[in-house]
C-alpha cells in the first residue's frame, strides 16, 4: 500500500509544526460552533431517553421488554453484540495495523480508539440491564460470596465478563498511553492557566526525554502485541455465548472466526460513518485523506467477504449435517416469520459490499457513507436474526413462540446511540482527535523519503 504514486496519507506542504498547530487548534483555538452544540444537544437528548428507559426497567423489571419463553434474549443481547463488534475497529487499526507498519493508520487511530472505548461502554451497559436482577450483577465477579459460592467458570457469560472488562481496560490504557505525549503538547500550547493545569496533570509531566521515548515505544509496541490476540479473542468469546449452547443456529464451530470478521466489518463501517462527516466538519481532509477512506473500504470488502463466507458455510453445514433441527432452522430463517430480517441482512452484508470492488465507489465519500450506514444496519440485523430466529423455534414445536420488541426495547437501543454520540462529541471537543506526535513523525519521515 506504500506505492509513492498513491494519494498521500498527508497532503503535501505540512511540517511537524503546522501539523501540531492544525490538530491542537481544533480543540484550543476553534470557537464553540453552533453545529457542535446542536449535535451535542441532540445526542444528550437521546442519552436522557436511555436514562428514562433504564429507570423504568429497574422499577418494573425486564418484563417491559418483548422477551418471553422461548425467546428469553432479545434486543439487549443483540445490542450488546453489535456494540462490542463496533468496538473492534479501533484496536484493530491501532494495534494490528501498527504491527503491520501501515503508516496510514496514524491519522485515524486515535479517533478509532476513542470510538472503540465508547462503543465498549455502550456494549457493557446491556449485559447488566438484561439481568433479571441487575442489582446483583457482581455475583458474576470472581470472589466467593457469603455462602462461599464462586462464579460458574464453565459458563460463557463468565468468560464474557472477563473478556469484555479486559478489553475495555486494555483499550483504555492503550488509548491513554498514546495520548500522554499529545497531552504534553496540549499543556504547552494551551494559553489559559486552568487548561494548562488540567492537561498538565493528565500529561503526568511528560517531557519527551529520549530515554522515556525508548521505553514508551517499547511499551506501546508490546501493548499492540497484546491487544492483537485480545481483539481477536473478545468477539470469539462473545460468539461462544451462542456456540456453546445447543440451540440450532447457535451451536456452530464457525462462530468465533466469523464473529470476529463481522466485528471488524461493522467496526470499519462505523469508522467510516463517523470519519466522513467529522473530517468535513473539522476540515481535516488533509490528514484524513481519500486514501484512508479507501483503505477502510478495502478492509470492509475483505471482512465482508469473510462474513459472507461464514453465512454460506453455516447453510452448507446445516444441510451437510443432515440434522433435522438445523435444517429446519435454516429454512425458517429464510422463509419463516422473520424472513424479512434475513433477506435484509443478506442485502446489506453480502450484496452491498460488493460495490466496493470499484475504485470509483471506494473513493467517493458520499457513497461510502451511505454504504457504511447500510452495513451497520445489516450487522445489527444479523445479530437479531442469530439471537431471535434460533430461539423462537428450536426443538419441540409445542414450545415454539414469537418475539416482538416493545417500545422499551427500541428506546434502549436508540438511547444507547445517545450515550455513544455524547461521549464522541466531548472527545472531539476536549482532546486531540489525531495523534500529534505520530503525525509529526510521519510528515518528517515523508519529507526524508521525498528527499532521498
Amino acid at each position: 500500500m506504500n506505492v509513492p504514486d498513491e494519494t498521500p496519507v498527508v497532503a503535501p506542504g505540512y511540517d511537524s509544526g503546522s501539523v501540531t498547530r492544525k490538530i491542537t487548534d481544533v480543540v484550543l483555538a476553534r470557537p464553540l460552533g453552533r453545529g457542535w452544540l446542536a449535535g451535542f444537544a441532540f445526542a444528550f437528548a437521546l442519552l436522557m431517553l436511555l436514562n428514562f428507559a433504564i429507570g423504568w426497567l429497574l422499577i418494573r423489571g425486564v418484563g417491559i421488554w418483548g422477551i418471553n419463553i422461548p425467546v428469553a434474549w432479545g434486543f439487549a443481547i443483540v445490542n450488546f453484540v453489535w456494540w462490542i463488534g463496533i468496538g473492534h475497529a479501533g484496536t484493530f487499526i491501532s494495534a494490528i495495523l501498527l504491527l503491520l507498519h501501515q503508516d496510514w493508520r496514524t491519522s485515524i487511530n486515535r479517533f478509532a480508539e476513542a470510538m472503540t472505548l465508547f462503543a465498549v461502554a455502550c456494549a457493557g451497559l446491556f449485559p447488566l440491564l438484561h439481568l433479571g436482577r441487575p442489582w446483583v450483577f457482581y455475583w458474576l465477579l470472581p470472589y466467593p460470596d457469603t455462602m462461599g459460592l464462586w462464579p460458574q467458570w464453565r459458563s460463557p457469560l463468565v468468560w464474557d465478563v472477563f473478556a469484555v472488562s479486559t478489553y475495555a481496560t486494555v483499550s483504555l490504557m492503550f488509548w491513554y498511553v498514546g495520548l500522554i505525549p499529545d497531552l504534553a503538547t496540549m499543556r504547552d500550547r494551551s494559553a489559559p492557566r486552568p487548561l494548562q493545569f488540567i492537561y498538565g496533570v493528565m500529561a503526568l509531566g511528560w517531557r519527551g526525554s529520549a530515554r522515556h521515548w525508548k521505553r514508551f515505544k517499547m511499551a506501546y509496541l508490546l501493548l499492540a502485541g497484546l491487544a492483537t490476540p485480545l481483539v481477536l479473542s473478545v468477539h470469539s468469546v462473545v460468539s461462544l455465548d451462542f456456540a456453546v449452547a445447543i440451540v440450532p443456529g447457535w451451536h456452530s464451530t464457525i462462530f468465533p472466526p466469523y464473529f470476529v470478521a463481522g466485528a471488524i466489518f461493522s467496526g470499519f463501517a462505523m469508522v467510516l460513518t463517523l470519519l466522513i462527516p467529522v473530517r468535513k466538519a473539522y476540515g481535516l481532509q488533509d490528514f484524513i485523506t481519500i486514501r484512508h477512506l479507501e483503505n477502510c473500504a478495502k478492509i470492509m470488502l475483505a471482512t465482508g467477504l469473510m462474513v459472507a463466507h461464514g453465512y454460506i458455510t453455516e447453510m452448507f453445514m446445516s444441510w451437510y449435517s443432515d440434522d433435522k433441527f438445523d435444517i429446519y432452522m435454516t429454512l425458517n430463517r429464510m422463509f419463516g416469520p422473520y424472513a424479512p430480517a434475513w433477506w435484509l441482512l443478506m442485502f446489506c452484508n453480502v450484496l452491498v459490499p460488493q460495490a466496493l470492488w470499484f475504485k470509483s465507489i471506494r473513493t467517493n465519500p458520499a457513497i461510502l457513507f451511505v454504504l457504511a450506514l447500510l452495513v451497520n444496519v445489516g450487522m445489527w440485523t444479523e445479530r437479531y436474526v442469530i439471537v431471535v430466529t434460533s430461539l423462537h423455534r428450536d426443538f419441540l414445536p409445542s414450545a415454539w413462540g414469537i418475539y416482538h420488541p416493545t417500545r422499551w426495547d427500541w428506546m434502549t437501543l436508540i438511547g444507547s446511540f445517545g450515550l455513544f454520540l455524547s461521549l464522541l462529541f466531548l472527545f472531539l471537543r476536549l482532546l486531540p482527535a489525531i495523534s500529534i506526535t505520530e503525525m509529526g513523525k510521519l510528515v518528517l519521515d515523508k519529507k526524508e523519503s521525498r528527499q532521498q
Binding site: 423489571g61 439481568l131 433479571g132 445447543i246 426443538f395
Partner: protein
C-alpha cells in the same frame, strides 16, 4: 385441632401483610403490572382488601372436633401438615378429598384413595377449589337490597314468613336448587315440604338436561363406543372412568389385551383423543348413526365393523351416548350396557325449572329461596329467567358470590364454602361422605343446612349438629361415636353405597332438526358451566385442544373455515333462532364440518374481577328445547379481530418423534419397534468425561403416554403445590405462562380428523443438563440424587438456562407476578404452601420433582430409621393423575415401579439424541386397531 391452632391461624391472618401492603409506596398494580388497564382492578382489590381487614375476626378454626386423616397428634405439630377427609361436589355428586392443612390453613386438596369417585386422584375443579375458598371476592355479608344486614335480621324475616306459611301451608314458597345428593339436606327439604305441603322445590342443573346415565364398569369393557359422550372428560365419574380405562391400556403390566374405543363426536373431546377410531360428525349425523345402531338399519359402512365388534363382545361392550341423543337411542344403549352397569344415578326429586317458570308467570310464587346455583345466568335463554324473576315479591339467595342471580334478589346470604362447613354428599354410586370444615367460614358464610334449619324454624342449631343428628338417625347402634369418627376419618360412610333415589325426568323435547350450520354447546373444559369463572387458576388453564386461556371461542373445522373464509381470531356474529352472539373463531382440526362448538360458562357479568367479561356468553343462544344445540346457525363475519392468548402456537409434530405411537400388534411382534425410532441416544461410554455415578437414590419419572387422557390436572395440581402465580391474559399472550408442567397437544394426520396426542412435559432433570452448564453463577446445579436444582436466591436472571433448555420447561419471573392482580390479595397468602418459596421478580423457576415432598418423606424415614419405600414419594402431578400415567421413584432400585417402567421397551427419552440423559422418560402410546375396520 384446638385453641392453639386457632391462635396460630390468627397469627397467620393477614393483618401485618395488609398493613405493610397499605404502606407500600407502590401498591401492587401501580408498581408491578404492565397491563395498562390495571388501575381499575387495582381499586377493586383495594376494596376487597379493606373488606378483608374488617373480617380478620371471622377467621377461626372450627371448634368442633374434626379428625385428622393419617396421623392423629393430640396437638398439632407446627410445620407438620395434617390431612382431613372431606368431599367436594360437582353437580351435586361428591368426589372424596383429603385436604392438607398447615397450622389450620387448608393449602392443598388431594383425592381420597378410599373414595370410589376419586380413588386418590383429582380433577382440575377439585384442585382449584382451594383457591375458591380464599377468593377475596366471595360474598361477605348478609345484604338486604343495598343495605348491609345481619343474619339475625334475616331470621326475624323468616319468623314472620313462617307465620304466613303456617296459615296457608306454604303456598307461594318455592325452593330453587341445583342437583342435591346430600342426605342431610334432602331430609331437611323433605321436612320443610312436609311442614308446608303447598310449598314446592324445583331443581335446575344447567349441564344435567336429561336423566343421567347409569355408571358402568369401563374396566370390564372390551369394546366401547362413545357417541358424543365424553366419559373421560370432566364429570362426576371422570376419575373412576379414567382409572378403569387406563388400566386396560397398559402394555407394561403384561396385559396382552387392550380394550378398544370407538368415538363419534362433533368436537374433539378427551375421550375422542384416546380413541382407536374417531369419527367427526355433526349432531344430525350422530343422531342418525345412533338411530341406525338401535335399528341396525342403514348403518354407514364404517359403522358396520363397529357394531360387529360390539356385538361380538356383547355383555363386555359399552355404548355410551351423550345427552344430545334421542331418548329411545339412549334407552337402547342402556339395555345394551346393562350387564356392565354398576350404579344407578342419583337424581334429585325436585320439580323441573320449566314448571317453575310457569308458576312464576302465573304469579303463584311469593317467596323464593335460591340455594346456590346461578339460574339468572345459566338457565335457558327462552325462559327469560332474569326478567321474570321480578314477578316474585320476596327473593332470597344463598350464594358464594354476589353473582348475576344475587343481583336480582333482595335478601342475599353469604354461603359458606364446602371446606368451611359441615355437610355431606353422595358419590355417583351413592357412597356418602361426611364433609368436615377445615376452617371457620372466612367471610361469615352460612351453609345450606343452616338456612334450611332456619326456614324450618330451628335457627339455633349449628351445621355440625344438623349433620350429626341426621347420621345419628341413620346409625341406631350405640357405637355411634366410633362410627362417626371412622366415617370422618375414612371420608366415606361405610356401606352407604347405592343410596335412596327416585327418578327425575326434566321435560326435554327432541332437538329441533333442520339444515345448514349446526350449533353445539359444550361445558367449558376449564370453568365448567361458569361456576368456576372467578377462579384464576382455571381461567389460565390451557384448554386441552386449542390451548386457549382466558377465553372461549367458536370452534370450526378447517374445511368450514375455508368455505366461510374465516381464520383464527376473526370475530363473527353467531345468529341462531333470532338470537345473536358475537364470538371469535378458532379453527380446530378434528371438528366436524359445518358445525360450530361454543363453550358455556363465559361472558359473566357478576363473576368478579377475574371472571367478568372473559369470553362471550353462549347461554344467550341456549334454549330449553335444544340444550345441546341444533341446526339453523348463521355465521356473519364482522371484520373485527379478537386476540387469543394460547400457550401452544404450533400443534404439528414437524416429523419429529417427540410422541411415539404404535399398535398393540406391532408391539407384540417387535417390542422395540414402537419406541426405539429416530436417532438413538448416545451410549454412556460415548463421552470424553468420566460419567458421574449416582449412588444412593436416583430420582426419576416415567410418563405413560398410553394412559394420559390430557385432563390437565397435573398442571393445576403443580400450580397449587408449588405456589405458581397466575399471570393473566396479557402475559400469557406474551408467552410468559408459569406452569411448571404443561400438557402438549399434537395433531397427527389429516386436519379433517387427525390423531390427537397428549404429552405432559415437566422438567426432564437431565443428567447432562444443558441449563446448568451455562449459568454464570451456578444457580442451577445437580444434587447428589440427580435432581436438577434451581437456587432462586442465587439466580441473577440471565435466562441463558432457558435458552439452552431443549424442552423449554423453565419459567421466568419477568415481572413481580406475586404482586399482580391475581396474586396480591392479602388473603391469598393463607393459600401459599409454606414448604415452597414464593419466587421474586427476575429469577428463573421450574419443576423440582416436588423436592419438598421428597425431603418430608426422607425426614420421616430417617426418624423411623428405615429406607424410603417405593411409591412413598409422590409429586403433586403424579398424585393428582387419574390415569396413573405419571410414576416417580428411585431408578437405582430395580424393584421400584419407575425402574420397571423405564425397563419397558416402550420407554424412550424425549430428545435423548441430544445426550441430555433425561431422568424423565416416556412410554410410547399403543393403539388397538380393529382388523376389520382397517379393511374398510
Amino acid at each position: 385441632m384446638n385453641m392453639n391452632t386457632w391462635r396460630s391461624t390468627d397469627e397467620l391472618e393477614d393483618r401485618p401483610a395488609f398493613r405493610d401492603w397499605l404502606q407500600r409506596e407502590f401498591p401492587p398494580l401501580a408498581s408491578e403490572w404492565t397491563n395498562e388497564a390495571s388501575r381499575r382492578s387495582f381499586l377493586k382489590i383495594m376494596g376487597a382488601s379493606f373488606a378483608l381487614a374488617g373480617l380478620n375476626a371471622c377467621t377461626r378454626q372450627a371448634l368442633e372436633k374434626v379428625v385428622p386423616y393419617v396421623r392423629q397428634p393430640e396437638d398439632l405439630v407446627p410445620g407438620q401438615p395434617l390431612y382431613f377427609a372431606s368431599a367436594l361436589n360437582l353437580e351435586g355428586y361428591a368426589r372424596g378429598i383429603l385436604v392438607e392443612s398447615h397450622e389450620g390453613r387448608p393449602t392443598k386438596i388431594e383425592g381420597n384413595p378410599e373414595h370410589p369417585a376419586s380413588l386418590g386422584a383429582s380433577d382440575v375443579f377439585m384442585q382449584a377449589e382451594i383457591l375458591a375458598l380464599y377468593d377475596p371476592e366471595r360474598s361477605k355479608s348478609v345484604m338486604n337490597g343495598l343495605e348491609v344486614s345481619t343474619w339475625d335480621e334475616f331470621l326475624a324475616l323468616v319468623v314472620q314468613e313462617r307465620e304466613k306459611w303456617k296459615s296457608n301451608g306454604g303456598i307461594g314458597l318455592r325452593l330453587l336448587t341445583g342437583h342435591i345428593t346430600s342426605p342431610t339436606l334432602l331430609s331437611q327439604i323433605e321436612v320443610l315440604l312436609q311442614e308446608f305441603p303447598n310449598a314446592k322445590w324445583h331443581v335446575h342443573e344447567p349441564l344435567a338436561t336429561k336423566a343421567p346415565q347409569p355408571i358402568y364398569d369401563v374396566g370390564k369393557a372390551e369394546v366401547i363406543l362413545a357417541v358424543e359422550n365424553d366419559f373421560l372428560g370432566p364429570g362426576p365419574a371422570q376419575l373412576k372412568y379414567a382409572r378403569d380405562f387406563a388400566s386396560r391400556r397398559r402394555a407394561d403390566s403384561g396385559a396382552t389385551k387392550f380394550n378398544r374405543l370407538y368415538v363419534a363426536e362433533s368436537t374433539p373431546s378427551m375421550t375422542g383423543a384416546r380413541a382407536d377410531y374417531r369419527y367427526a360428525l355433526g349432531p344430525r349425523a350422530l343422531q342418525e348413526f345412533g338411530t341406525a345402531l338401535a335399528t341396525e338399519a342403514s348403518l354407514p359402512s364404517w359403522g358396520v365393523p363397529i357394531l360387529a365388534d360390539l356385538t361380538r363382545n356383547k355383555g363386555r361392550s359399552l355404548i355410551l351416548l351423550g345427552d344430545s341423543l334421542s331418548e329411545e337411542v339412549r334407552q337402547f344403549a342402556r339395555n345394551w350396557n346393562r350387564p356392565l352397569q354398576i350404579a344407578q344415578p342419583l337424581p334429585s326429586n325436585g320439580d323441573s325449572l320449566s314448571e317453575f317458570m310457569q308458576h312464576v308467570e302465573a304469579g303463584k310464587i311469593e317467596t323464593l329461596v335460591i340455594l346456590g346455583g346461578n339460574p339468572a345466568y345459566d338457565t335457558p335463554v327462552d325462559f327469560k329467567f332474569a326478567e321474570k324473576l321480578a314477578l316474585v315479591p320476596l327473593r332470597i339467595r344463598l350464594g358464594l358470590y354476589e353473582d348475576e342471580t344475587s343481583a336480582l334478589c333482595q335478601w342475599r346470604l353469604p354461603e359458606a364454602h364446602p371446606l368451611e362447613t359441615w355437610s355431606d354428599a353422595r358419590a355417583f354410586d351413592g357412597t356418602a361422605t361426611i364433609m368436615q370444615p377445615l376452617i371457620e367460614p372466612l367471610y361469615g358464610g352460612k351453609s345450606a343446612h343452616e338456612l334450611m334449619a332456619a326456614l324450618a324454624g330451628n335457627a339455633v342449631v349449628s351445621g355440625y349438629e344438623i349433620v350429626r343428628q341426621y347420621w345419628h338417625a341413620q346409625h341406631a347402634g350405640d357405637d355411634f361415636e366410633k362410627y362417626w369418627r371412622k366415617s370422618l376419618h375414612d371420608g366415606v360412610v361405610a356401606g352407604s353405597a347405592g343410596g335412596k333415589s327416585s327418578p327425575f325426568a326434566p321435560s326435554v323435547r327432541a332437538a329441533a332438526s333442520g339444515s345448514g350450520l349446526e350449533l353445539v354447546f359444550r361445558p367449558s373444559p376449564s370453568i365448567r358451566d361458569g361456576r368456576f369463572a372467578n377462579n384464576a387458576w382455571l381461567q389460565e388453564l390451557p384448554q386441552p385442544f386449542t390451548k386457549i386461556t382466558w377465553d372461549n371461542s367458536a370452534l370450526i373445522s378447517p374445511a368450514t373455515a375455508k368455505r366461510l373464509h374465516l381464520s383464527n381470531e376473526d370475530v363473527v356474529d353467531l345468529k341462531y333462532r333470532g338470537r345473536l352472539v358475537r364470538a371469535p373463531v378458532w379453527i380446530l382440526p378434528g371438528q366436524a364440518d359445518d358445525c360450530v362448538t361454543v363453550h358455556l360458562g363465559y361472558g359473566r357479568t357478576h363473576a368478579g374481577r377475574v371472571g367478568n367479561g372473559v369470553g362471550f356468553d353462549a347461554y344467550a343462544l341456549r334454549t330449553s328445547d335444544a340444550p345441546w344445540g341444533g341446526s339453523g346457525l348463521e355465521i356473519v363475519k364482522t371484520g373485527l379481530r379478537h386476540p387469543f392468548a394460547t400457550t401452544q402456537h404450533h400443534q404439528s409434530m414437524e416429523g419429529r418423534d417427540q410422541v411415539r405411537v404404535g399398535t398393540l400388534a406391532e408391539f407384540q411382534q417387535h417390542p422395540a419397534a414402537v419406541a426405539q425410532v429416530g436417532e438413538p441416544a448416545p451410549g454412556g461410554d460415548e463421552t470424553l468425561y468420566v460419567p458421574i455415578a449416582y449412588k444412593g437414590h436416583a430420582w426419576g419419572m416415567a410418563i405413560d403416554l398410553g394412559a394420559c387422557i390430557g385432563c390437565n390436572v397435573c398442571t393445576i395440581a403443580c400450580q397449587a403445590e408449588n405456589n405458581i402465580p397466575v399471570v393473566g391474559k396479557e402475559e400469557v399472550a406474551r408467552g410468559r405462562e408459569m406452569h411448571w408442567i404443561r400438557v402438549d397437544n399434537y395433531f397427527e394426520g389429516a386436519p379433517e380428523n387427525p390423531r390427537i396426542h397428549f404429552q405432559p412435559v415437566p422438567c426432564m432433570h437431565c443428567e447432562n443438563a444443558p441449563c446448568e452448564l451455562v449459568c454464570p453463577v451456578g444457580a442451577t446445579a445437580h444434587s447428589s440424587e440427580g435432581l436438577n436444582q434451581m437456587v432462586y436466591n442465587r439466580c441473577v436472571g440471565t435466562r441463558y438456562c432457558s435458552n439452552n433448555c431443549p424442552y423449554k420447561v423453565r419459567r421466568f419471573n419477568f415481572l413481580e407476578y406475586d404482586r399482580n392482580p391475581f396474586e396480591s390479595a392479602p388473603v391469598l397468602k393463607l393459600l401459599r404452601n409454606p414448604d415452597v418459596t414464593v419466587r421474586t421478580r427476575g429469577v428463573m423457576e421450574k419443576c423440582t420433582y416436588c423436592v419438598q415432598r421428597i425431603n418430608r418423606v426422607r425426614i420421616e424415614a430417617e426418624k423411623q430409621n428405615r429406607p424410603i419405600r417405593d411409591g412413598e414419594i409422590i409429586p403433586a402431578c403424579a398424585q393428582a393423575c387419574p390415569a396413573e400415567a405419571i410414576v416417580f421413584g428411585d431408578i437405582n432400585d430395580p424393584q421400584s415401579r419407575v425402574a420397571k417402567f423405564k425397563a419397558s421397551p416402550l420407554n424412550y427419552g424425549l430428545l435423548a439424541e441430544l445426550n441430555t440423559r433425561p431422568r424423565t422418560t416416556y412410554l410410547a402410546k399403543l393403539l388397538n386397531p380393529n382388523p376389520e375396520a382397517e379393511k374398510t
